[in-house]
Amino acid sequence: MVTYFLLALRNLTRNMRRTVLTLIALVVAIGSLTFMLTLTEGYLGSMKDNFVLTNFGHIQINAPGFQEDGLIDNYMADTGPAVAAAQANPNVVASTQRVYVSGLANVATASAAITVIGVEPDRERAVTRMADFVTSGAWLEVGDNGGVVLGIDVAETLEAELGDKVVMTTQAPGGDFSSQVFRVRGVMESGTPEVDRLMAIVTLEAAQTWMELGEGATTVVLRVDNHENTDAVYERMLDQLDGQQFETQRWFDVDPFIQQFVESSDASIVFILAIVVVVVLGEIINTMFMSLYERTREFGLMEALGTGRRQLFAMLLWETTVLVSIGGALGYGGAAILTGIYGKRGIDLTAFTESLSSLYMDPIIHPVMDLKITIYILATIAITALLAGVLPAWRATKLNPVEAMRQI
C-alpha cells in the first residue's frame, strides 16, 4: 500500500507542472464549492434565525384555538404553568409573555387597522430582536404604560411622529369597545410586512389593564438555544403542560415556508454539486489521459519488465486518488479558512440583494461550516477520484507492451 502511495507521489512530482495545474483546477473547484456550501448554510441559517428572532420565537404557547382565530376572548388567564415550564427547561434561553389583539388606531386626520401587542419590554429583548428594529425614537421602557412603538407603515399612514398621541380602540373580551390613548415612543422598521404594516407595541401591563385580563396573556414566547433543540423542547412542553389549557406550537408548525425553503435549497445544492463534479471530472480525465499518452512508453517498459496489469491499474488509480485528495483537501482547507475569516465579519452583498428582507434574507451573509458540508465534500472528492482515475487506468492496461515501447 505504502509503495503505491510513494510511487504515486513520485510520479506526480515528476511532472510538477502538470500536477500543479491539475491541483489548481481541483483546489478551485472543491474550494469554491465548499465555500458556496458554507455561504448557503450561513444564509439559510440566518433566514431561520431571522424568522424566529424577528417576531415569532422558536415556540409559542397559546390557549387552544387562539393561533387559529386570534380572538382576545381566547386568552390564558393563568400563564403560570407555561412560564414555569419554560423557565425550568435548560434549553430555553429566554421566555416572555404577550397579549395580541386587533384594533384601530386613530389620530385627528387618519386611522389605521393595527395589531396591538402587549410585551414585556425587558424580557422581549432576550427573546426576539424587535427592540433592535426601532429606527427612530426608542424601544419601550419597563413601566411606560402610556407608550407605543409603531410599525413604520402604520406610523406613515397615521402621519404620526415621535411624541404624537394615538387613540387606539379595541374590543375587550366580552366585546366591549375600549379606547386608550398612547404616545409614540418609537417607530420600528423590520423589513417584514407583518411587523411594519400592522404592529403597535405597548407594554404587557398596559394591555392587561386595558383588556381587563388581570395577570393573563394570550401568548408565551420561547427562545431555544439552538434550532436543533426546538423539537426536544417542544416535546417536553407537550408533556408538562395540560393540552386543554395550553397549545404549544413550533415556529414551523405555524409557518412552514422557511423550513421547506431550506429543504428545497438542500436539494438544489446536490444538483449543483453533481454538475461541478461533472466539470471537474471532465478536466481531470482529460489531464490523466494526456499523462497516459505521454507515459505510454514508460508503461510499456514496465509491463515488459513484468508489472502486472492489475498493478498498473492500481498504480494509476492511486495516482489519481492521491492527486484528487491533495487537491480536494487543499481546496476544502482554503474554504474552511475563508469561512473562518468571513464567518465573523460576514460578506456584504447589499449590492445584490436589495430588499429581500421581506423574505428574511440578510444582505450580510456569514458562512458557516457544518458537518453535513464536510461529508458532502468528502464524498465528492472520493467520487471524483474514483471516476477520474478508473477510466484512464483501465485504458492504460489495454496497452500492448511492444507497441507501447515503440512509441516515442
Partner: protein, 284 residues
C-alpha cells in the same frame, strides 16, 4: 393570530389592501359587524371641554344639559357635500338611552340606504341591511374614520368622553352677540392622557349655554375642522340649535350639515327598541 406564509407577502406587496387582509379578522359566534352608533351621541359632539376655570366648567355643563338628556329620540337630516358631485341627503331616526349606553338608528332615506338600521348595545355594534336580510357585527378595525361617508367621525359618535374629564378649560374671550346675549370663547386643552385625538378645542358658547361654534385642533395645533351651530329655536321643549355644520379644513369643498328635524327629551323608550330583533323589524 395566523402567521401569513412568507410567500403571501410576495404576493401581498402587490396589494396595499393587504394591510387589512394580513390580519385575519375573525369574530366569535355570528359574524357581524358592529358599527359605531351614536347618532344619538351626536349630541355629545357638542360636548365642550373640561374647565380649569370654574365659570368655564359651569358654562360647559349648562350646554351639555341643554343638548343631552337621559333619553332622547330624534329625526335627523344629514346633507353631505362633496366637490364635483351633487349633495347627498340622509334622513334618519334615532333612539338614544344614555343611561344604559344603548342606541338605535333607522335610516329612512335615500332609497338606496332605506331601512338600514344600527344597534349599539352592550358594547357591540350591529348593522342590518334590508337586502341582506340579516344583521352583521362591526369590529373596531372596520370603524373607518368617516361615519356614513360624512365629515363626522366614528370617534365623534362613539366617544363617550365627558368634556369635564378630558379637557382643561379656560375662558379666553368674551364678546357681545347680535341679540344681546354674551358669547364666551373657551379654550379646552386635552389632558395628555385623555383618549381623544384632539390637542385643543376652541368653543364659542352663549352665556345661556347655547353652543355657537367649535374649532378642533390637532396636537400640532393645525385647525382640522370647524363645527358651527345655528337655527336656534324650540327643540322638543328646549331652546337649542337644530343645525350643525361640520367643515373639514383640510379638504376643500367638503362639508356636512346635520339638521335636527325633531327631538324629544327624556321620554321613556321601550326596551325592545334596543334589541337585534328590532333591527329587522324596522325594515318591514
Amino acid at each position: 393570530m395566523e402567521s401569513c406564509s412568507l410567500t403571501c407577502k410576495v404576493g401581498a406587496s402587490s396589494y396595499k389592501w393587504s394591510n387589512h387582509v394580513v390580519r385575519v379578522m375573525n369574530i366569535s359566534r355570528k359574524s357581524f359587524i358592529q358599527m359605531s352608533m351614536a347618532v344619538a351621541m351626536l349630541g355629545s359632539v357638542g360636548v365642550g371641554p373640561v374647565l380649569a376655570d370654574e365659570e368655564a366648567d359651569a358654562l360647559i355643563r349648562s350646554m351639555e344639559d341643554r343638548t343631552r338628556a337621559e333619553t332622547n329620540t330624534a329625526t335627523y337630516r344629514m346633507v353631505v357635500t362633496r366637490p364635483g358631485e351633487s349633495d347627498r341627503e340622509v334622513v334618519m331616526q334615532s333612539w338614544d338611552d344614555r343611561v344604559s349606553d344603548r342606541s338605535f338608528i333607522h335610516i329612512l332615506s335615500p332609497r338606496r340606504d332605506k331601512d338600514t338600521t344600527f344597534l349599539k348595545v352592550e358594547g357591540n355594534l350591529w348593522m342590518y341591511l334590508p337586502n341582506l336580510e340579516r344583521d352583521i357585527k362591526i369590529p373596531p378595525a372596520m370603524m373607518l374614520n368617516s361615519w356614513m361617508g360624512s365629515d363626522f367621525t366614528n370617534d365623534d359618535l362613539v366617544n363617550q368622553s365627558s368634556a369635564v374629564n378630558d379637557y382643561e378649560n379656560t375662558i379666553i374671550a368674551r364678546e357681545m352677540g347680535a341679540d344681546g346675549i354674551e358669547i364666551v370663547t373657551i379654550q379646552a386643552i386635552a389632558h395628555l392622557d385623555a383618549a381623544v385625538v384632539w390637542g385643543r378645542v376652541v368653543a364659542k358658547i352663549r352665556m345661556d349655554g347655547i353652543p355657537i361654534s367649535q374649532q378642533f385642533f390637532d396636537e400640532d395645533d393645525v385647525l382640522i375642522r370647524t363645527l358651527i351651530f345655528s337655527d336656534i329655536g324650540d327643540l322638543g321643549g328646549r331652546i337649542a340649535p337644530s343645525k350643525m355644520e361640520m367643515i373639514p379644513e383640510t379638504e376643500p369643498g367638503h362639508k356636512t350639515v346635520m339638521y335636527i328635524d325633531a327631538m324629544t327629551f327624556d321620554e321613556p323608550i321601550a326596551d325592545e327598541i334596543f334589541t337585534r330583533a328590532n333591527l329587522s323589524r324596522r325594515a318591514r
